[in-house]
């Protein structure tokens, strides 16, 4: 669907902006570096990217694109798996450099490149000669033509070599490459970029001092992936632009995978896309999940079956039950009336989203600054909580309000101001009243400040009075009075107002942050099949295999195979029987005993009375079946032949591992 493409584009945009943010300073640095060559050091950037390795490919692609656009046409990306030795590294490097040269000045020297591809002497000397020829050509031969294409590059553009995964390179290769290139740094302006996933200490671990002293390393830290995720969630989920929404549980699954498993934004986005596909595939009414402008058209083109589908939605049924009887009949029988009603409901949902997002942000402003973060620090946690159930019924929300009632004035005022800004920036017109109300609160606070100064005078005077009195009894009495009065006074002024503000916020929350499940027709827009998603994304091969072997009915759907209790059915496939028997054994399994048990199980059904006759003799066919099943198990990796004991096999798996 085109929505998905939209989504991709948006994601790429955000990634690119993220990249340019993190690398803009880097680009400035490169210009400085080239001036500074006198010490024979290779300028090097150590780029710490975090452990989400899967995201790196995209980051590096973006980086090299940016570099190619702005600084130099000569960028080479090297990966550890391509470079087991220095020879391969040089080959790869030269291949990439020469081909990017072809990209820049399209077809002039194609023949030259073709020759070099075949049997090039992969050494630094040839690289340098190539570089010299290329740069010379750039600034002498066709200056006018080059101006337009590479005017942004300067006279001798540096050659940038990016090592994608520093950790996996072998030490020797890196050392040799650095030593070689440091010898030629004057002829070949080389800039290295190390992509580091763990910590920069790895440089010291990989390179001895004699080598690292040849480098001039500067460190750049990319944005942490958690922050990256929050921006993505912010851009994708917390906007009303995209009609498609994730249900609370689904979002929870995705975030859990992210936090518990891989920290990979890439995978998160993939999961999100999978949700979209799954939703549009499994929900027949997802045609209606579109932008507001299209709803009318699509609602009118609904067929009768689709209308029936709508009527079958549980949320719609709930809605119908609440209506009066005449309308109920109308809704259930008249298609066109239903269509109009649907359209109205969908528009309602859309409006609800708009309100929801802005109020959510407001609430987040309040909760994120409270001590201990009862509702979570990040907006995504708050979002999940709100989607899941009625947020105002939870204990956390209660404690939040309690804490909010204890906020001091400056914090409260700044928060209110932030809320006003958020509401102002949101598109909805309905917030005018809310904004007015909040502004009213603000002015009241300001008034209060003026009053407070007066009040202070009063209290000072009363304190003076207090000093005058010397009688102990009187002193005590006045102190008590003072305390009393102070409490009541505060309650009347500032605290009252604070209660009012908190109550107002509470009312807003109750009004707008209704969980989506309560909305009519939420099934169209929300994707809620968390179990399906988990099955897709968090695959458990071991468990699946165990289920298949232990309970063949699950996959084969054969009633005869359904077994109850822990017994071993003889109708199951041979491999299942063998597997179940092997579960009962220890680390080493005696093949003869195993065969014995197997034949007992198989024979039990076939000829229950014949086993007395041939108890010690095992049928050849059964023997063959057993051997086949065992070798199948070996293929699946459950057992392996053992050399410790003859006629024994070793068991390889235990329970969950």
């Amino acid at each position: 669907q085109q929505i998905q493409e939209d989504m991709n584009k948006q994601l790429l945009d955000s990634l690119v902006s993220f990249l340019s943010r993190s690398h803009s300073d880097f680009r400035e640095k490169t210009t400085e570096w080239t001036c500074e060559m006198k010490f024979r050091e290779i300028p090097t950037a150590a780029l710490v990217l975090g452990v989400n390795v899967t995201d790196h490919a995209l980051t590096f692609r973006g980086l090299s694109d940016v570099l190619q656009d702005n600084i130099t046409p000569y960028v080479a990306l090297l990966e550890a798996k391509d470079c087991p030795g220095i020879k391969n590294l040089m080959q790869k490097l030269m291949g990439q450099l020469m081909s990017c040269d072809v990209d820049v000045d399209s077809l002039e020297d194609e023949d030259g490149v073709q020759v070099s591809q075949n049997r090039i002497r992969c050494s630094m000397a040839s690289l340098i000669s190539w570089y010299e020829s290329v740069t010379k050509k750039t600034d002498s031969e066709t200056p006018s033509k080059k101006r337009n294409s590479s005017s942004r590059h300067w006279q001798s553009p540096p050659v940038v070599v990016i090592f994608k995964d520093m950790e996996s390179f072998t030490t020797k290769v890196l050392q040799d490459f650095i030593v070689i290139s440091s010898q030629h740094i004057h002829e070949l302006p080389l800039v290295l970029i190390f992509g580091i996933a763990t910590s920069p200490m790895i440089i010291h671990r990989l390179l001895p001092h004699s080598v690292s002293s040849l480098l001039c390393i500067e460190l750049f830290q990319s944005l942490s992936c958690k922050e990256h995720l929050s921006t993505i969630i912010d851009k994708l989920l917390l906007t009303s632009q995209f009609p498609f929404k994730l249900g609370g549980k689904v979002l929870q699954v995705l975030i859990n995978i992210f936090l518990y498993h891989d920290f990979s934004v890439q995978n998160f986005v993939k999961g999100f896309q999978l949700c979209i596909v799954e939703h549009f595939y499994s929900q027949p009414l997802s045609v209606l999940c579109c932008h507001l402008a299209d709803i009318k058209k699509r609602a009118y083109s609904l067929s009768h079956d689709q209308c029936e589908n709508i009527r079958r939605l549980p949320s719609f049924r709930r809605y119908v039950e609440k209506q009066e009887s005449g309308k109920q009949i109308e809704l259930l029988t008249n298609d066109s009336f239903l269509k109009e009603e649907t359209e109205k409901l969908l528009e309602d949902i859309h409006v609800y989203h708009e309100n929801y997002v802005s109020i959510l942000r407001c609430l987040h402003v309040f909760t994120s600054s409270l001590p201990k973060y009862p509702l979570g620090k990040q907006i995504r946690e708050l979002h999940c909580a709100c989607l899941e159930n009625r947020v105002w019924e939870t204990e956390e929300y209660e404690s939040c309000l309690q804490l909010a009632r204890m906020l001091n004035k400056t914090d409260l005022v700044t928060m209110l101001q932030q809320c006003v800004e958020i509401l102002m920036s949101s598109s909805g017109k309905k917030f005018d009243k809310t904004v007015g109300k909040l502004k009213g609160f603000l002015t009241q606070f300001q008034d209060l400040e003026a009053e407070a100064s007066q009040e202070r005078d009063v209290s000072i005077s009363s304190q003076k009075e207090l000093q005058r009195k010397t009688d102990l009894y009187h002193l005590q009495k006045t102190l008590l009075e003072l305390k009393e009065s102070r409490r009541s006074k505060k309650l009347t002024k500032f605290e009252m107002l604070r209660f009012e503000v908190v109550d107002y916020i509470d009312r807003l929350v109750r009004k707008y942050l209704v969980p989506a499940d309560d909305r009519t027709l939420h099934e169209i827009v929300y994707f809620n099949a968390a179990a399906v998603l988990r099955g897709h994304l968090n695959a458990a091969p071991r468990t699946a295999l165990h289920t298949a072997l232990n309970n063949p009915h699950w996959y084969l759907r054969n009633q005869a195979l359904k077994c109850d209790g822990g017994g071993i059915s003889n109708k199951a496939p041979d491999i299942c029987i063998v597997y179940k028997l092997h579960l009962e054994c220890g680390r080493l399994i005696n093949l003869v005993d195993w065969l014995e048990a197997f034949s007992t199980v198989v024979m039990a059904a076939e000829e229950p009375n014949a086993d007395a006759a041939s108890s010690d003799h095992v049928d050849d066919i059964i023997h063959a079946r057993f051997i086949r099943a065992v070798s199948e198990l070996e293929l699946l990796g459950f057992i392996k032949p053992s050399k410790q004991k003859t006629d024994h096999v070793a068991r390889l798996t235990w329970g969950g591992c």
Partner: protein, 432 residues
């Protein structure tokens, strides 16, 4: 001080040579006497060794170029295969004889090389002069084909030409000797520069705008700080150039004059100490250091490389790594005690664990099978963990990050074994 004297070469050249190679006069004169006159056959191969930056390459290069002896200079690290090395020698040979066009040569084996070498020498006017082939970082030769090193050692005999091979290396000849035996080269040792030598050499290249004495005083101070940790001439020169601007600062401002060494010393000393902690260890780069000097700011704001040692890991990866660490450093027999009875005596077991670890740490990590890792993981994670594909893929990604390492990669399927490759500090940081 022995002056260089040799009948074959003009005295002016020798004098220039002497000024160019300070503190290496005795070695140069030995070399000259071995080389003899231009047309005389010399020793077939010479092996020169000495510690890093003791001037081997520099001395040889200056000697050969100043006296205009025909020579070929090759770095064995750069030409990493024998083919590249041999071809490069032939190429340089063509160009040093003055031939304009250098045609690409193909030379795969030493046999070809000898043939082509003969041709190359015969075609040029080199017959009456000794040709020198200098192989820098010759220790790389040991990793090439077995016949390369012995072949070079007796190249004179093989080609029957007037040629001398000079090998430069940082390690001693005994480590080179192949087990099949070979021609023994003439070995020569370049000793380390003493502090006096370093002082003399560093003071030699003073910037033109200030007097030699002034610079010498600066070098004196610099060596006083750095000589304890670093004797590498290159590194010292680098540091000298970096910090000189700071040293000159009071003079430029007019606060002190050039003779006022005490004042200057007070000014520069803390600065140099700081440099020792940062620039020398490459914690911050030299360009950052220079910028810092210009701004006059504190280096505290610039965090070094090791300051960023914290690593963010996903939730389960952390536990996997901790489990791997426990599996690596605890013996198998204690597993039952630590992980089975989980309720109750946790404090006590923890204490015992620590006690035992101290001895195991000296032995280094031990390999453990995958099952054990997972079993420990299940027992240290509070809630239930499903053995999903994600968990398994995390183990491999930890291996690629070099936090774990795989031991014995013979068979992936039957029970891969791992080792934990991180330190206790790292685990402590993660476990927090």
């Amino acid at each position: 001080m022995p002056n260089l004297r040799h009948p074959a070469y003009p005295a002016a050249d020798l004098l220039r040579l002497e000024s160019l190679v300070p503190c290496r006069e005795s070695q140069v004169s030995t070399l000259l006497s071995i080389f003899g006159e231009r047309q005389q056959f010399s020793f077939p191969s010479i092996f020169i060794y000495g510690h890093t930056s003791s001037g081997k390459t520099y001395v040889l290069q200056t000697l050969l170029t100043t006296l205009q002896l025909p020579h070929v200079f090759v770095n064995c690290v750069e030409y990493f295969t024998s083919r590249l090395l041999l071809e490069e020698i032939l190429l340089q040979l063509q160009s040093c004889s003055g031939a304009e066009q250098t045609s690409p040569v193909h030379c795969d084996t030493l046999n070809d090389f000898v043939r082509l070498f003969k041709q190359a020498v015969a075609s040029q006017e080199l017959q009456d002069q000794t040709l020198y082939i200098v192989l820098d970082r010759a220790e790389q030769l040991r990793e090439m084909e077995a016949n390369i090193l012995p072949g070079f050692l007796r190249l004179q005999e093989l080609t029957d030409r007037n040629v001398t091979v000079v090998l430069l290396s940082e390690i001693v000849w005994e480590l080179f000797r192949p087990n099949i035996g070979c021609f023994e080269p003439f070995t020569m040792y370049f000793p380390d520069y003493s502090i006096g030598h370093l002082q003399k050499i560093l003071s030699k290249n003073h910037p033109p705008e200030c007097s030699a004495d002034f610079y010498a005083a600066y070098i004196n101070i610099l060596l006083g700080v750095f000589y304890m940790v670093c004797r590498d001439l290159k590194e010292l020169r680098h540091l000298a150039a970096l910090n000189f601007a700071k040293y000159c600062e009071p003079v430029v401002k007019g606060e002190a004059n050039e003779r006022d060494t005490r004042k200057l010393w007070k000014n520069i000393e803390p600065h140099l100490k700081k440099a020792m902690q940062t620039v020398y260890l490459r914690e911050i780069s030299s360009s950052q250091w220079e910028r810092l000097q210009q701004d006059g700011g504190e280096p505290g704001q610039l965090k070094g490389l090791s300051a960023h040692s914290h690593v963010e890991l996903p939730y389960y990866s952390k536990f996997l790594l901790i489990a791997a660490y426990l599996a690596s450093y605890n013996p198998v027999r204690t597993d039952k005690r630590f992980f089975l009875k989980h309720h109750g005596k946790i404090r006590k077991t923890n204490f015992m664990k620590k006690h035992e670890k101290t001895s195991n740490h000296l032995l280094g990590p031990k390999p453990f099978p995958l099952d054990r890792l997972l079993a420990i993981l299940y027992s240290i994670v509070d809630n239930r963990v499903a053995p999903t594909a994600n968990i398994f893929s995390q183990i491999t990604s930890l291996v690629t990050l070099q936090l774990l390492s795989m031991v014995g990669q013979n068979d992936q399927l039957d029970g891969p074994r791992y080792k934990c490759a991180v330190s206790l500090d790292f685990i402590r940081a993660i476990a927090r």
